[in-house]
């Protein structure tokens, strides 16, 4: 009875989280209509203005409409973080899943490579890669590169989980049965192992999204994320630097509140995925 009640409460929270996520995604996708002036227009006579009818969240320090920037930044972070999560999950599935399935030397080798990646100071690596990039890239290209780098570097933890899971499946009865009936190699992996890894893959995918959103935010705060004038949550959070009190300009906290809402909503939705994976 108690379990049913808890499950019911969780379902309400999950429903609420889904609604919030849909609302945030919906508004960000409607940015072109809701904030037609765009994220780059500088209202220089109204730089650093507080909220008004013309600028609902005021303007930033160089006069850009903060509401428009929040909407466009949300769109960028929310569209590209799942893309990076998909990339990292795919790499994890191939590296971890195959290593676990093949076992032996292959598994050890794959895990050694994973450990090597895990030990890399990813922040410095990202800074180095950013420094090596061509200089004349458009802001859109810089967004794609930033999230691709996050995806390419963020697969390691998931790979370890998948390797363990695939290794367990390797000796499962249904796999032995399939092997006995003559299915071997990659065919066995794709037909029998991979579908059974799916719940773990889903969970890893969902877990990665908020992690990448936060990673981009960290990079943005360091000035190494998405190129100007394109906004992202990271670059929007940079405005909070040097703020000495919460009551000073509370509207500047909107991107932070949005980030917390989105990441929390993802976590609530994910709790279901983690249960499935378990």
């Amino acid at each position: 009875m108690k379990t049913d009640m808890r499950s019911g409460t969780m379902n309400v929270w999950r429903g609420l989280a889904c609604v919030l996520l849909l609302l945030v995604v919906g508004f960000s996708l409607a940015a072109n209509w809701v904030a037609p002036a765009g994220y780059a227009k500088q209202y220089r006579e109204a730089a650093g203005a507080p909220p008004s009818r013309a600028h609902w969240l005021g303007t930033d320090e160089i006069g850009r409409d903060r509401f428009a920037r929040v909407l466009y930044g949300t769109r960028i972070s929310l569209l590209l973080a799942p893309a990076a999560a998909l990339l990292s999950t795919l790499i994890a599935a191939l590296a971890g899943g195959l290593a676990g399935y093949m076992g032996g030397h292959w598994a050890r080798l794959a895990m050694a490579v994973t450990d090597l990646f895990l030990s890399l100071p990813w922040l410095f690596l990202l800074i180095t890669v950013r420094a090596l990039m061509p200089l004349n890239v458009t802001p859109l290209a810089s967004v794609i590169v930033t999230f691709s780098m996050l995806g390419l570097l963020g697969w390691t933890s998931a790979a370890r989980v998948l390797c363990t899971r695939a290794h367990a499946l390797r000796d499962a009865d249904f796999v032995r049965q399939a092997r006995a009936s003559g299915i071997r190699g990659m065919r066995l992996f794709w037909i029998h192992v991979m579908p059974n890894l799916r719940p773990v893959l889903y969970a890893q995918f969902w877990i990665s999204i908020p992690a990448f959103i936060l990673s981009e935010a960290n990079l943005g705060i360091l000035g190494l994320g998405v190129a100007e004038p394109m906004p992202s949550w990271g670059s929007l959070l940079k405005e909070l630097e040097g703020l000495t009190s919460i009551g000073e300009e509370p509207w500047k906290f909107v991107p932070l509140i949005l980030l917390v809402i989105v990441v929390t909503s993802f976590q609530v939705v994910l709790s279901n995925q983690e249960e499935v994976a378990a």
Binding site: I62, L224, T244
Partner: protein
Amino acid sequence: MTRHQDISLTWGPGRRVAVLCVAWVVAALWLLAGSAVAQGGGELRFCLRSEPKTFDPLRVEDEASESIRYLTGGVLVRMNRKTQALEPGLAQSWKVSKDGKRIVFKVRTGIAFSDGTPFSAEDVAYTVQQLMDPALHSPTGDAFRSGPGNVQTKVISPTQVAITFPAAVAGLDRLFDQVAIESAHSPKKEVAVLGPFTVVDYKPGASVLLKRNPKYWKTDEQGHKLPYLDSIELDIQPNRDVEMLRFKRGEIQLINALDSEYFDKLAATSPQQVHDAGPSLDSEQVWFNEVAKAPIPGYKREWFQSTNFRRAISRAINREDLSRIVFHGHAKPALGAVSPANKFWFNAKLKAQPYSPEAAMKLLQADGFRMDNGVLKDRGGNAVEFSIITNSGNKIREQMAVMIQDDLQKIGVHVNVVTLDFPSLIARMTQTFDYEAILLGLTNVDLDPNGQMNLWLSSSENHQWNPQQKAPETPWEAEIDKLMRAQASATAAAKRKEYFDRVQEIVLEQAPFIYLINKDALSAVSPAVHGASPVILHPQTFWNAERMTVGK
């Protein structure tokens, strides 16, 4: 007698006690006041933004070490940071020869180092010899190297010393403002100082404690011994936010080089604590890569090497907006290579180049550029697009770059703003030359044009737009080389100014550096500090530390 009796009658024993008490209190207050001025000026606290790299005054090259040298070192002549005029220090008088090669100092007598060792002309000769020792690699000494050959020092008498250089040194006497005299005989050398304070404690990564030098020679107009302060604690704190927070809590009493944003925040609550001393010597500028071997397309190099192109970009940047928005009005649009803050060397005849996209377009059209559907294209049909690099994490520069991006979009120029970590930026700027344009600042500490020799000579490493040229690649760079050398070897200040004025004109005409703004010298001083008078020159708030006191 009667009178005496009257007094006895009027002043009873109780009153006598009261009068004695009042007299005692007055005397105590007088003593306290006297000691506050002459001996008990309190402890001043402020932050150094980095660890001092050295305590050896001859090896100083960083700002933190320079601050300590300023507070502890005794110099022969001192430039008054407010009037920018030279004043006698350890030297009572001095004379520079007509050929600019020789200077004779007459030093004060009866002065001792902090450890009690007597000071004489011999110490000056010793310090100069140490300074000019090539093995020491002294950045201060480099300013004196005018030509090949050795520097000769001759102690004429215990109060007179002559220093002869192999070639003329322009502004020779001013250079001694940076030379803290060391003792020839003291076994402690670096510890024995002639300045107002002496280092008594150093906690790496935490703080440097300075105490009053009891042997300091200076007195104020009333004959009280200087400095008034008992001690100065310099906390090592690179984080500006923490520095600001500590100032607000009253834990520190001074902030140098305050950001405009912090300045305004502080001004909103405590306007009496902030000081805007006007434009400083520091500038922010953009320059294009004109290096022949740089890995950039040829057509872009052609744009960057065009005077009209550079001038057009300069005219299309709204400096007033940069000053008003990014610096909250605490900066002035820059006119050229020298800030108006440099009273003597600034060329006041230079005409401002106001923001004008129309004028910019005319200049571009003269070079064959044309507008095509809102995109500027060159003669070959290439769309004008380039990147501006600046250092990541510097909010001010990032904002400036984004505003420039927006300004240039109005003349059809597409700019990509790239922020890089500082080492990567420097590597591109000085080693690989793999960049198109850079936005950075220049911190000037020297008023004299000689301090800019390494910037303007075409053979120099710091000639950023096209460094280390074997021979000047353009006629105007050849002219600048000639003028800079001429001013360095001339001894008459008026002649030197004439040469350097022309350099400033050429720089404005050719725009190798597109000077954007001169930041104001902003600072904060706690009301507890008395006698502070912030100025634009380093060390801004504590240049007159010997006359400052800290009270409640």
